[in-house]
């Protein structure tokens, strides 16, 4: 731990807290959104400093690609008037005071519990490392996601599908049609889109032995789809083929789990001989589904410029 590294850490930590404070107090929500996007970028630097490159990849792809585009799109729907919050003088009333006190107590308890953890505390890392040889992969995070905690990941994909159903149900207002993309935007998309597909494939493949995996690959792929949609709007809708692809990852995951039960094992308990292959199959299917889910969350369920005009 050198002084330079400590300077970097403290600078980053202070910057993150400062950004949170500013983006929650600025009255212009556009500026708050930009600070939120910047916050995501800096967060991925923090994950790198905390030796969590897998998390950093996911944060970089989702924070700067998907979430930013989602919030900016929502800002447009709110219009110039809806995007301004009242400047908040923060009059102290009883509710705010008690809320603030409660939050301060929570913070003190959390801080105390963080600082009082024994120095030799190792969490579950020893157990995870001991199980690594049977996991079928050499990246411990991928092993945790797809093997040790595969029930979590299976149900997570189900949650993502539910979110898409919700967005499809809620989307009623047609989007105003976009202007045609100029030559530069066309060029950018034409070069970036194939690269994004390649990088997504690379991350998926690398996930077994290095930082990367299904979520990161899917997020990059979804960002590519969002870029394409921004340049040339297309209708995704809830067509049966889209539904099938969205359900594909979950179905493959579940089918493998059931096959293992039928073969005499336990649900989603990969036999260590085939674990590597099974994990890659599940991850490949999940990447496609998660990418389409994230894209569907952005595109929504209404045609660009279709139907009645916005009032």
């Amino acid at each position: 731990m050198t002084a330079d590294a400590a300077a970097l850490d403290i600078l980053l930590a202070v910057l993150l807290v400062f950004l949170v404070w500013r983006l929650l107090t600025l009255s212009d929500l556009f500026k708050a959104t930009i600070l939120f996007i910047v916050f995501g970028l800096l967060l991925s630097l923090a994950w790198v400093r905390l030796r969590a490159p897998d998390v950093a990849l996911a944060e970089a792809a989702i924070g700067s690609g998907v979430t930013g585009a989602l919030v900016l799109d929502a800002l447009r729907r709110l219009g110039a008037h809806g995007a301004v919050d009242e400047a908040r003088p923060l009059r102290l009333n009883l509710a705010r005071l008690s809320g603030g006190l409660l939050v301060a107590c929570l913070g003190a308890i959390l801080l105390w519990s963080v600082l009082s953890l024994p120095a030799g505390w190792r969490g579950l890392s020893a157990e995870a490392m001991a199980a690594m040889p049977h996991s079928g992969v050499t990246n411990p995070v991928t092993a945790s996601l797809l093997n040790f905690r595969s029930h979590d990941t299976l149900l997570e994909i189900a949650v993502l599908m539910l979110a898409v159903l919700g967005v499809w149900t809620l989307d009623a207002e047609p989007k105003p049609s976009a202007e045609p993309a100029g030559p530069i935007l066309d060029l950018l998309v034409r070069i970036l889109l194939p690269l994004m597909v390649v990088v997504a494939g690379y991350l998926l493949w690398a996930g077994g032995h290095a930082p990367g995996g299904a979520f990161q690959g899917a997020a990059v792929l979804a960002a590519g789809g969002i870029l394409l949609h921004l340049a040339r709007p297309f209708y995704l809708g809830n067509h049966v083929i889209i539904r099938l692809v969205i359900g594909f990852g979950f179905a493959v995951f579940l089918a493998i789990g059931v096959m293992l039960v039928v073969g005499g094992g336990r649900f989603l308990e990969f036999p260590s001989r085939h674990a590597g292959t099974l994990i890659l199959v599940v991850e490949a299917a999940a990447t496609i589904s998660i990418a389409l889910i994230l894209l569907a969350l952005f595109v929504g369920n209404v045609r660009e410029g279709a139907g009645r005009d916005a009032p």
Partner: protein, 101 residues
């Protein structure tokens, strides 16, 4: 090992500021941003504590990655609710927060 402590404290601070912001904000978009940051504060505490052993504990990393992906879906759903409310009622605030319009 001071790095994990620095970031864990920052995570606690982020969580508390964002939680207070979430409780007091009126505009729903700001509430959505605040909720996101509450999540990020929790993630930061988890990952910071996971960074103390060597090699780092992979289980919290996996949990946080799941959390990040679920977080973006929750955000998308909340934004869809906000858009719908704004389209139907013309306000980006919840009914009990609308005394200023």
């Amino acid at each position: 090992m001071t790095t994990p402590i620095v970031y864990a404290s920052a995570g606690v601070a982020m969580l508390c500021i964002a939680l207070f912001g979430f409780l007091t904000a009126r505009h729903v978009l700001r509430r959505i941003l605040a909720l996101n940051i509450v999540g990020s504060g929790v993630f930061m505490m988890l990952v910071a504590l996971a960074a103390r052993p060597d090699p780092p504990d992979p289980i919290p990393h996996a949990l946080v990655m799941t959390g990040i992906v679920v977080g973006v879906c929750v955000t998308a759903l909340a934004l869809a609710l906000l858009r719908r409310m704004f389209a139907d009622e013309g306000s980006a605030r919840l009914p009990e927060d609308r005394e200023f319009g």
